[in-house]
Amino acid sequence: MSAVRLLVGTRKGAFVLTSDGSRQSWQVEGPHFAGWEIYHLKGSPADPQRLYASQSSGWFGQLVQRSDDGGNTWAPVGSDFTYQGEAGTHPWYDGTLRPWEFTRIWHLEPSLDDPATVYAGAQDAALFRSTDSGQTWQEMVGLRGHPTAPSWQPGAGGLCLHTIIIGPDDPSRMFVAISAAGVFRSVDAGETWRPANHGLSSEGVLPDPDADVGHCVHRIALHPSRPDVLFMQKHWDVMRSDDAGNFWYDVGEGLPSDFGFCIDVHAHEPETVYVVPITSDSLHYPPEGKLRVYRSRTGGHEWEPLTNGLPQQNCYVNVYRDAMAVDSLDPCGVYFGTTGGQVYASADAGDSWAAVVRDLPAVLSVEAQTLP
C-alpha cells in the first residue's frame, strides 16, 4: 500500500510525518536538528530515501544535512557556499550599495534523475549546484552574472532565491524566482539566464511597474504534464503564463485578496490550482481571520473557498511560500503548514481538511513524498 511522507521545516527543527495511503493517521518524528531553522527539506525524485535539508542559524550559520534512509538518520555534508569571482554589490534597503553576502539556503531542489545532483537557492540571491551528493557546491555564475544583478534589491525577507524548477520534460530548462528580482529562465541547464517577467505589474512597489526585473515573486509552480504553463503567487497578484514565462496574465479575480505566498498545482489536474490568500503585505494573516484555501479548477479563472476543517474565526497565521505541497495519490493529497505550527492535510484534493499536528514551531516549508 502506498504511503506519504511529509518533510516539514520549522523555525526550531525538522519533522517527518508519515502515513499510509489513507492519510488519516499520522506519525510524527522530530525534531531533527532541534533549535535550528530548517528552511527546507526535499527528497530526491530518483531516490526517495535520499533527503537533503537546509539547516541554518543566526548564530552558527549554514549547514546542509543529508539522509540516505528516508530521514531516520542524517549526516552533515558540505556547506561552503562561496560566491565565485568578485562578489559585486547590490542596493541595500537604505539605497547604499552592499556587497553580496551569503546568509542561508532557502531552497534545495534535487535533480529529477540523479540523486547526487542537487541545486540550492541562496540569500543573497545565487544558485549553487552539487553533483556529489552535497559534499561540495559550486555557484552557477551565469545567474548572478546577469547584467541586471547589480540592481536586484532585497524584499522584506532578504534578497533570496527561493524557488527552483527543473523542466520535467527537459532538464536543460530551468526557472528560478528571486525576491525581489523576479523570475529568470535558463534553457541551457543553468549556464545562462534571462528575465521572464513580461506581463507582471508591481504598481506602487516599483517606480516602473512593468520593469523587466524587480518584481517580488513569491512562488511559481507548474504541472509536470504541461511544462509551459506556470502559475505564480506574486507579492500582490496571482498570475499565469501559458508560454513558459514569456508572458504572464492575471488570474486573481475572485479571490478575497490576491496577496499571498504559496501556490501549488493538483497532481493529476493541471488546471487545478491552490492558493492561500493573505490579507496584505502589512497584514500577514488570512482575510477576516478565516483560514481558507482557494481552489481553481479552471486554471485560475474561477476560485472557490475550501473551508471544511479549517478555522473560520480568530485565525491569524501565515502560510509561507514553500509551505504547501501535494502528493501524487488519487485523490490528490494537499498539505500546508502555518506560522502557528499547524500542518493541515486534505486527502480529497482540498474538499476537507484536518490538522495532522497543531503545535510545531512556525512552519517554513512542507514537502510531500509519495512512497510505494
Binding site: G35, S57, W59, F60, G61, Q62, L63, P76, S79, D80
Partner: protein
C-alpha cells in the same frame, strides 16, 4: 611550544561535533584566539564556518568568547589569551550570544 587548551562549546555545536561539554585542544605556538579556533576547526572540521566566517575568519556576529569573567570577543584574533587559558586553568568559552528566541 604547545599548550593544552580547554574549550567549551554551546550546546548546538557540541551536538554537531559530537563532543561533550569540554574539548581539549593542542595548540602549537602562542595561545591566541586565531590559533585556538584553528586547532578546533582542524580537529572538528564540521565546525568550520559556525564560529567564524569561513572566508574572512571574522567572528560571527552572535558569537562571544569568554574566559573567567572576561569577555574576550572583541580582542584582536592574534592577541594572547589570558595565561590561565594557556595553561588550562581556565576554559575558553564559545557562547551563542543572547539575541532572538
Amino acid at each position: 611550544m604547545s599548550s593544552l587548551v580547554r574549550v567549551r562549546l554551546p550546546a548546538q555545536l557540541r551536538i554537531l561535533a559530537g563532543v561533550g561539554p569540554e574539548v581539549v585542544l593542542e595548540v602549537n605556538g602562542p595561545v591566541t584566539q586565531r590559533l585556538v579556533l584553528g586547532a578546533l576547526e582542524q580537529q572538528y572540521p564540521l565546525l568550520v564556518g559556525t564560529i567564524r566566517d569561513r572566508n574572512t575568519a571574522k567572528r560571527r556576529p552572535f558569537i562571544r568568547f569568554f574566559s573567567g569573567e572576561a569577555d574576550l570577543s572583541n580582542e584582536a584574533p592574534d592577541s594572547l589569551l589570558p595565561e590561565a587559558v594557556a595553561r588550562g586553568a581556565e576554559m575558553f568559552v564559545v557562547v551563542g550570544a543572547m539575541a532572538g528566541g
